[in-house]
């Protein structure tokens, strides 16, 4: 009931937002809507002038990709400098020192890729300046980059202006000023009203309840504060996920009330869902838009239903006991299994990565659901990039379906040739290469990676790289990931997992847009049909299982099976028999 309410409420808000977003990106002159855009245009003109860019200049895919990479690289290097120099920069009332080079590299790579994977604890290792201009600023820039790349891909899909895909600076600026900025203001005020801190004052000293029991080296305890509410708002709306506090939205300061939990759960899904819903209004291909939404919704519901089953079950070790306890270890009791499971699956489906419970503590099979959300990464996916990832699967399905029915695969009347399919396959193969490659190194050299032993260690390491490649950011927090090995290998996954899958579909669609479109015939493959939707779901699931089923079996599935009561009882009997013989 609670789930239906949250999902229904999100859908109700996402539909008008999708219409608004489609109008906001329609350029160069969007529908006037009674002068709605005028205040935004004033701010945007100032920004264009300040950065010296011409928003009217149309870009090819190559120009657009260059603008994405240069802008993001500049922002990343800037953030890197701020993280390393924060010790002597202003707005540091708690005297936090600078980060080491490897931690700063990972943190910059993580925040510039919309991942927000954290190998540090925010409240203790970042100054207010780092939180604001290193972290929160990137939390606006990166979803804006994703939205811009998505609208460029959709323009190429329509092919109204062959060879050009829009202007990156105009798209990214509009994404911030018209969509993310206003939404973040509303959400920040709502969260602050619930008690999430929003202050520039330093830590709050608090007296011990029993001063006699206070540790000798800590005569007074402090509560870390700061401008938390604005950061939490954009962390959720922009599928960023990185919290102010280390344990993220499991901390009462970051998520104090049931209403704040509802607002944050809703914000996780809102913009990614609106991105999928805007395909129809933006491209004019309404049936295609609904087909994409249908595929995503089917996979999303399947993942939500599965995690409810796996997480409401007691831990497999406890199963079958007369009074099997609920799986509440690692969860906030005030949220319970339901709200934690829903948040967990939504945050991994949407590439958000914020948590309100510790994923490391969830049942092993729930871990499989969380990993599948990140591996698929297009249900609903990150802001903008979820739709881009889905387009990649759509192109692969068009190719495979074309092979099955014996026709040259085509989309929108434009033929897919070997050249485009090679790029699609290369990008899809990059995922197992960049997840399983470093995972194998981590497991082969446990002395270097400090990965630990056993099936759960495999799950933790797999989760870390999957999260990095999917630009999700959540983690199985038991992993000792604060060393050079994890910082550098994850940085590689973060950057390659962000920009290659973002730009390659733009290349393919831009190439297709310059081809002549053939008129549809009765034999044309209809990509908006339910049968094609079913084929897309099958392709997504099969590709992921072919790539990752073996490692899922070696990690979370094995953990589930060896924890099963009969296995535990068998091991116990064997141990007592061995003890008796001795």
């Amino acid at each position: 009931m609670e789930t239906a309410l949250i999902l229904g409420l999100t859908a109700l808000l996402a539909w008008p937002l999708a219409r608004y977003m489609a109008a906001a990106f329609a350029g160069p002159t969007p529908p006037r809507w009674g002068g709605l855009w005028r205040p935004f245009e004033v701010v945007e003109r100032l920004l264009y002038r300040g950065f010296g860019v011409n928003p009217e200049q149309q870009m090819s895919w190559a120009g657009y990709a260059r603008a994405v990479l240069w802008t993001n690289l500049t922002a990343g290097v800037f953030a890197l400098g701020v993280f390393m120099a924060q010790g002597w920069l202003p707005l540091n009332p708690d005297g936090v020192g600078g980060m080491s080079w490897d931690l700063a590299l990972h943190t910059a790579a993580s925040f510039v890729t919309n991942t927000n994977q954290q190998h540090y604890s925010g409240q203790a290792q970042l100054s207010y300046l780092s939180q604001m201009i290193g972290v929160t600023a990137l939390q606006f820039i990166t979803p804006a980059t994703g939205l811009a790349a998505m609208v460029a891909c959709l323009r190429a899909l329509v092919g109204a202006q062959p060879g050009v895909v829009g202007n990156f600076y105009q798209d990214a600026t509009r994404a911030v000023t018209r969509i993310l900025g206003p939404l973040a203001v509303v959400w920040a005020l709502a969260l602050a009203s619930q008690g999430v801190p929003a202050t520039f004052e330093g830590e709050q000293p608090v007296a011990w309840l029993d001063p006699a029991a206070a540790p000798a080296d800590t005569p007074q305890q402090v509560i870390p504060r700061g401008p938390v509410a604005p950061m939490v708002a954009i962390k959720q709306l922009g599928t960023n996920g990185g919290g102010w506090y280390g344990p993220n939205s499991a901390v009462p300061l970051e998520n104090p009330t049931p209403l704040s939990n509802l607002l944050q759960t809703l914000a996780i899904l809102l913009v990614p869902l609106a991105c999928a819903l805007m395909i129809g209004p933006f491209t004019g291909k309404r049936r295609l838009g609904w087909a994409v939404v249908g595929v995503m919704a089917a996979l999303s519901v399947a993942l939500i239903a599965t995690i409810y089953v796996t997480e409401y079950a007691p831990s497999p070790v406890m199963e079958g006991l007369a009074s099997a306890p609920r799986a509440l270890e690692g969860k906030e009791v005030r949220f319970g299994e339901g709200a934690s499971a829903l948040w967990g699956t939504l945050t991994t489906q949407t590439s958000n990565g914020s948590v309100n419970a510790m994923h490391d503590s969830m049942n092993p099979l729930s871990g499989v659901v969380l990993l599948m959300g990140m591996l698929i990464n297009s249900v609903w996916g990150g802001v903008g990039v979820g739709v881009i990832n889905h387009l990649l699967y759509l192109l692969l399905t068009v190719f495979l379906a074309g092979l099955m029915v014996g026709r040259t695969p085509e989309i929108g009347g434009r033929k897919l040739t070997t050249r485009e399919v090679q790029v699609v396959c290369a990008v899809i193969l990059l995922q197992p290469l960049l997840i399983l490659g470093p995972l194998a190194v981590a497991l082969a050299y446990p002395g270097v990676s400090e990965v630990g032993e056993g099936f759960h260690a495999v799950s933790r390491a797999l989760y870390e790289y999957t999260s990095a490649f999917a630009n999700n950011g959540s983690g199985f927090e038991g992993l000792a990931d604060g060393n050079v090995f994890w910082n550098v290998t994850c940085a590689v996954c973060l950057i390659m997992g962000r920009y290659v899958p973002m730009i390659a579909p733009l290349v393919i669609l831009a190439r297709l847009s310059v081809k002549r479109a053939a008129a549809p015939t009765s034999a044309t493959l209809r990509v908006e049909s339910p049968v094609f939707g079913l084929a897309t779901v099958s392709v997504i699931v099969i590709v992921q299982l072919l790539s990752f089923l073996p490692v899922l079996v070696m990690g979370p599935m094995a953990e589930h099976w060896v924890s099963a009561p009969q296995v535990v009882a068998g091991a116990r009997d064997a141990a007592s028999a061995a003890g008796g013989e001795r």
Partner: protein, 31 residues
Amino acid sequence: MDVLMFVFAAAILGALFGACGWLVAFMERRA
């Protein structure tokens, strides 16, 4: 801040972005 270490980390970041640009251009050329 150790300036040398900053330059080193920035170079790695730049190399990773460069690798992405090169990889996409390579795929486009080969395709």
